[in-house]
Symmetry: C2
DNA sequence: GTATAATTCATACGTTCGTATGAATACAAG
DNA sequence: CTTGTATTCATACGAACGTATGAATTATAC
């Protein structure tokens, strides 16, 4: 029972920056693809280890279990996105400009990692309570968006009633737009892998949100 | 090889309107729950048949395979929603009113069948091309929404650039709002099972879309 | 070099999976 | 009743699953 491999923190594992195989990273990568493509249950340990060029027992050795690998995959792939959102949210400009920047970050990051939204939505559409790390990440992301909305609200630049609902409405758009890509081709003959089209979609979402939040006089 | 059970059309199967067990319907119901809750791979034939109070071989007998049951579950549960959307889209009123009606239908139907959006999103977030029946249903639904948008566009009542993108932006909202319900409690302490809250969410989405599509003067 | 720890490897275990099979039962028609 | 069909049932099969095990190998320290 010596193969714990989880005792200390990283850095002592496999000399990442060297030319060594770094099985651990390969498993995270392969696991990401497999989980995104087939879901947790659909992706098998044999699939993942084979794709990673590792032995069947590698997941048990490096992570302890398939479930633990899944958790690390989630965290490792969601954190960079939310980090980018955080910096975009803290950037300069009016609240509306910062919001557009956040949408752009979202959109670009998801477009460059087309499997990520699948992973996220599978996690959320599973119905079960996601692992606490995921909840924390989502919470952090929501916090960034809500911060912008609050700023715009107090400055009178944005018009909205409910902070949380509006946040959901906004975040839903890049996620959905990205995840619907395969269906958009089928239904509308639109190819989201074309950068031109992708940019058009981004601009649509930005304009849509901008229009929705524009202050106006009404009951 | 006599248990085909798929030769003719319905009506000869099990005398639905009688007091008989109607295993077939029970399997569709149990399969819907199980697939929505655990995904296709996560839901086992043994789970489903047990929940349906049927024998282990019942799925093979009545549908031929687990996959075939899944297809029927998808179709049986998506069609009623899209039918309702169709009637709402064909209703009276201005395009904006019809759009709000469609959103309300969406919202209400999804709220009453909280597992349905999970099923839909799992299907779409699986990445693989959904079965052609599902594509057809989605296409029909998109057609209804796009019809309203086109009407409003020619009447000058709605302002939008891209028909398809706008449709995605609209449909995404009730879906996301419903599916995010568990996270909304966690993140914002909001209980979507409360009818009051649910109605507030509906009104938010309607107002959000209305504002986004309101004609205005700009570049 | 040798000793010690970290990692890989082949293989096996027990479980669960979807489906197949044929006997048993329920039902409808004559 | 008897006959024939539709359905249920218990059980079995082979495959795939996640994980465990201990030997082989590789890296690190001395």
């Amino acid at each position: 029972m010596n193969y714990t491999a989880r005792e200390g923190n990283e850095s002592s594992h496999q000399a990442g920056p060297s030319g060594r195989p770094d099985t651990r990273a390969a498993l995270l990568e392969a696991g990401f693809h497999a989980f995104a493509r087939k879901g947790f249950d659909g992706a098998s340990v044999r699939d993942i280890t084979r794709e990673a060029g590792a032995n069947l027992g590698a997941i048990t050795y490096h992570f302890g279990s398939k479930r633990a690998l899944y958790s690390e995959v989630l965290e490792a792939n969601l954190t960079p996105l939310v980090d980018r959102v955080g910096t975009a949210a803290a950037g300069p400009g009016t609240p509306m400009e910062r919001l557009s920047a956040v949408i752009a970050v979202f959109f670009e990051h998801l477009s460059k990692n087309p499997e990520l939204p699948r992973l996220m939505l599978q996690e959320v559409s599973a119905g079960k309570q996601p692992p606490p790390e995921v909840v924390a990440i989502v919470q952090r992301n929501a916090g960034y968006v809500m911060g912008i909305l609050r700023d715009g609200q107090t400055a009178g630049e944005l018009h909205l009633r409910n902070l949380l609902f509006t946040t959901v409405s906004i975040v839903a758009q890049p996620l959905f737009m990205t995840i619907m890509a395969p269906l958009l081709r089928e239904v509308g003959g639109i190819d989201m892998s074309d950068p031109k089209t992708r940019n058009a979609a981004l601009e649509h979402v930005q304009a849509f949100v901008r229009a929705a939040l524009q202050p106006r006089e009404e009951a």
